[in-house]
Each structure stands twice: as structure tokens, then as C-alpha cells.
Amino acid sequence: MMIENVWLVPLLPLAASLVILFGGREREDSPMPFVGIAAMAASLYISLAVIFDAATGAAALPFEKEWLWYSFAANLGGQPSIFEMRAGVLIDGAAAVMLGVVCLVSLLVQIYSLGYMHGDRKFKRYFAYISFFTASMLGLVVSNNLIVVFACWELVGVSSYLLIGFWFEKEAPPYAAKKAFITTKLGDLGFFLALLLIFTYAGSYNLVRLKETVEMGYLPPMVLTLIGLGLLCGAAGKSAQAPLFIWLPDAMEGPTPVSALIHAATMVAAGIYLVARCYFFFLASPIAMETVAWAGLITAFLAGSMALVPYDIKRVLAFSTVSQLGFMMCALGVGGYTAGLFHLTTHAFFKALLFLGAGSVIHAVHTNDMRSMGGLSKRMPWTFLTMTVGCLALAGIPPFAGFFSKDQILEKVFEHSPVMFAVLVFTACLTAFYTFRMLFLTFWGDGRDHHRVDHAEESGAVMTVPLMILAALSLVSGWALEHGHAFASFVGSGGAAGHAAEAAGHAAAAGHAINPMVLAAGVTAGACFFIALAYSLYAGRDFSRAQRLKSLFQPVFDLLEKRYGFDAFFLGLVDLADRIAVLCRWVDIEVIDKVFVDGWGLLCRVAAEISHLFDALFVDQAVDGCGYVSRDIAGRGLRSLIARGQVQEYMLYLAVGVSLFAILK
């Protein structure tokens, strides 16, 4: 039974990463990457076997297996005792799907990287990091213990730090890496506090037990809300939700395959997955649910609008990821558990595809700037073709994958609130616009920078084959998974928290639903209209019309280019922290040390001086005075009288003295 071995899934890439890191020498043609690829393939095999077993009913979900990790002294129920922290695996439908997605995307990215990173000075190290990154993400997916989830969560952060800053010899990547780490860490504070609350009130970190505890209603609603908000905070950091999305565009400084991995399968998916995994907390707190929905909505809209203006191909994709994550978050917030996870799955395929395609383009023309591209369709047909599939999927055109999942989300949101629905539909249209703006700018028309474009060549098979596989998945995964509600029933198997609630929600909202056909047709029409708009603006030789539009709405463009000032806000925050830090240092040195500590020293010195003066003036003078009296006054007179040096006189005194004693007796 494969599911028994599911714990191997994260451990294999971990072992591989250690082997790669410490084994062998750094060479351009190091064979080490194949260790990582082999481990990944094995993990993928296990994951697929698990999915297959679960789908055929051979393995019952949820599957849980745990081992003792460590024990510590804790006060549970007011009585100090030894608490056993157990860690293990918990596989439900969502986890199984995520395992498959992560392993698959990571495997393809690694194969692709063989070509993309070829000849890099740190070729071997790159693969070690990638394996470690995937291992952390897989650990996060399978773990049944929230502490382990948090640990893997942070490790995902660290490996993204290492990978974003992979080319650390340059100026920008280290900065971007640090920004990513600190920003996500800021969100993690919320997660951390939620963890503290959970243990304090529920006394366990086991997800299954927590679910029982929450569903029994043992936790006060206020606490549940706080836990939900804390978890959301963590998810917002990792999944780049407003206002913590500032790190994601900068994260483009890393190698492009890494961006693909971050945006598709690991890292940003972690936040959504966390919310899904801890869905029972949110279900128990309407406020937290509503916050999740609004956070997702705002993010989707802001990021979607920001994606309209950049000329950096990866930035467009980055903002689009943020926006799509907003969609998923919003879906989860309105109770669309399966819709959110469905979109997460399909999005993983087409976003990985788009990033790897963009990487292929960048690899060929050595720039990220779309203004220097154009006309690449002839020079890179496979890349062009696969990226077109990806764009169609992202824009939500049937029958591509994005259409199905986005449609589900919109349906769910409409049931919840028409206002949110309107905003999301508009954002979906924007998605179509910026996606095709990117596609047209890159591939359409004639090359604008002949120097670059004319030397562009199609990438090798090691890069294009992963693209094709992903394109095929982007094409069929939506339809295949939607068919007969396969995905929904799979994810819902084993009584996942969200699914039951969803069923209840369906019943309640029956009278309030939108006709799916109308919705699909309407949204597709809107998307097509915006694609046409993009064509008219950007498909030509130059984009003078776009420029004119820009000068017309200059302030709006400025606002978008400044990313609504979020960056400035956070940089201001950092600046403020720095100022406080400098102030603290000043206080420490000048006040506490100089005044408080050295002040005591000074006080002691003053006291010492005073007592020294007293000593010299009074005590010592008194002693000297005694000496003076005895030596100079009494001494000299007596001496001259009796001590004349005559021994016989002395003897006389002696004799008289003795006689006196004898007489006086």
C-alpha cells in the first residue's frame, strides 16, 4: 500500500538536497542534479500512487500516521505534566492533490533548469536548494502537526531566501531575498500568535484533534476569530495577499525556474493551502471568513490592476499570480473550499507554464524588458505556442483549465455577495487584458530590438518538453477534473472540513445562485473583449495608442507603477524601525550606561573623594598631631633633661626605680 510510505515524499527530496550539497565537487557538468531529479520522480510516483489508490477507493482517506517527536513539560488543565508532541502525516484529498501538483511541477522545473542553469557557477548548489525548497513544501503539505507545518513553512521561507538571492554577487537579488524573507516573516508573526492561542486553548497541535475540539465548540468565538485572523496573517505573508504582497514582484530577481516554482507549487500555494488545511477554524468564525474573503478580493483587484502597467515580463506574471491568489483566497473566504483548491491546482499548471515560457524567452533574448522583444513567435514557435495555451488558460477562455476553476469561484462568490462578484468579474477581465498584453508585446508584430530578437533561438528540448507537458495539463486538467465533479468529490473525500460546510451552503443558497451558463458566457465574452482591446493597443509595431492612453490617465498610471504606495509604506516602516533602533542605541550608551551605570560609578567616586578629603583633613591630621606632640613638644624637653648618654645616670634611675618598687610594694 503506497499510502503507508507517504512520509517518504518529503524526506526523499530532503535527502537528495543534502547529498547534492555535500557530495561531489562544484562543476558545470556535475551529475548531482540527477540525484534531485530521481528523488523527485520517486516522490511523484508515490504521490500519484496515493492519489490513484485514494481515487479507486483502495486507500481510505484521511490517512493518519504519527510518531513521537519529543515531549516537554506543559501545564495542561492547570496540572503540570509531560506533553508528548507527536508528528506524522495526515493525507486528505486536498493534501493528496497538492502532493501530486508540487511533485509534478517541481520535477518539471528541475528538468527545465538543467537547460536554463547550464553553465552557472553554482550549478550543483542550485539543485540542492531546489530540492530543499520542494522538500519543505511537501513537508508542509503532509504534516498532521501544526508545529511541523509552521517549521516547514519557515523552511520554505528560507529556501526561497536562498533561491531568490541565488545570484548574490549582484546588488539586487540579496535585497529582494531579504525583503521576501522579512515580509513573509511579518506575516508569520500572526501565524505564530495563532499557534500560541491554539495550544493555550485547545491543548494540541494535531489537526485531527483540533478539528474535533473546534467542532465540539470548546473554544470561545473570540479566540477562534483571533486564531483565524492570525492564520490569515501568515497566509497573507506567504501567499502575497494585500498588503504583504510587496515581496513577490521583487522576488523576480531569482532565476526564472525558481519563480515558476515559487509561483506555481511551493511558497505562495502554501498560504492558500494553510487556510484550506485549517478551514475548520475559519468555518467556526464568520468574522474570520469574511476577512479572508475581503482580503482575497482586495488583493485580486489591486494586483490585477498593477499588472496592467509593467514592461518587465516577469513582473506582469508576478502581479498576475498575486491576483489569482486573491481569487483563491476570496473563494475560500466565501465558502468555496473546492473552488479555491481547484483554482490552486489548475493555476499551478498554467502559471508554471507561463513562467517557464517566460524563462525560455529571457534565456533567448537576455532581457526581461518586453519593449525590447516582439515578433518572437517566428523565432521561438514552441515557446510561443505553449505560452499561448498558458495565456488562454489564465484568461479563462474555455476549454482551458483556468476557465473551469475561475468559473467555480465566480459562482461561489455570487452566492455570497453580488458586490464582490462584480469586482471579481471586472478583475477577471483585467486578467485577460494584461495576459494578452504580455503575449502580444512579446511575440506579436516585428522585433523592436533587432539586435536581441534576431539572435533569439528556440530553447533546447530539455526546456521545451516540460513546457509541452505543462501546456497539455493546462489544456485538459480543468475539463478532466471538472468532469463529473471528480475533483470536488476527491477533495471532499474523507470528510474534509470545507466540503461538508459547502454542501450545507449549497442548500441554503439554492435560491440565490446564478445560472452557470449565463455566467460562463458572460465572463468569456468580457474576457474576449478585453483581449481584443489588448490586441488593438499592443499588437502593432509600436504602441502609440497605449502611450496616448497613458498620458490621458497619467495619475492612475503613476499610482499603479508605484504599486499604490505599499512599498513606500513598508519601507517607511523599516526606516522607522531603524530610527527607533538608533534611538535605542543612543539611550543604551548615553543614558543607561553613562548615567545609570557610570553614574553610580561617578557617585561612588565623588563619595570616595569626599571621604578621602575627610581622611586627609581630620583623621590623618589627628594622627600626625599625636606624633607631633609626642616628638616635638614632650620628647625634646625630656630628652635633654635626662638622656645625656651617661650610663651611670641610667643605672641610677634604674636603681631608684627598683628601690621604689621595693618600698612601695
Binding site: 630628652r639 638622656a643 645625656r644 648618654g645 651617661q646 650610663v647 651611670q648 641610667y650 643605672m651 641610677l652 636603681a655
Partner: protein
Amino acid sequence: MTLAHYIALGAVLFVIGIFGALTRRSVIGILMSIELMFNAANINLAAFNRYLHPEGVAGQAFALFIMTVAAAEVVVGLALVLAIYRNWDKTYMENINLLKG
């Protein structure tokens, strides 16, 4: 003869010794007077021994010790006198006031 006779003799000798020691100008004379005082003490010791503890010999033994010490003392004293005489060429006490403070 009773104990009192011997003690009286001793006392007379001692007083003569003291007088001599205090009044003689010559160092030699002073040394001789000191010998007188020693002998006064010796007489006392022997007398006490004879009359108070006739069974013991402690007093007589002490007298013998004192004679020895006296001899040694005179040797040292005469050596000092010689040294003083050689260095300063004087033996009269009033001329020597080395101890003056």
C-alpha cells in the same frame, strides 16, 4: 649563725657594689663593682639553699652558673673596654655618651 647574718652580708656587699657602679669613673672599677653585686646574689642563693631547702642543691648550682656568667660578662666587658680605649683613647665614663638621644 642564722640566715639573717648571711642576708645582711649579702645586702652590704650589694649596696657597696651599687655605690661603686654608680660612682666609679673608670670602666674597670664599674666592672669590679658589678662583680661584687653578683657575689652578693651568690651568697644569698647559697644561704637560702642551706636554710630553706637543705635537701636540694638548686641554689648552689645557680651560684655556680652565675659565676660562669660573671666570668663571661667580664670577658665581654673587658673586650669592650679595650675596643673603646683603642678607638677613642678614653676609659672614663663621663666622656662616653654614645647613648645620648
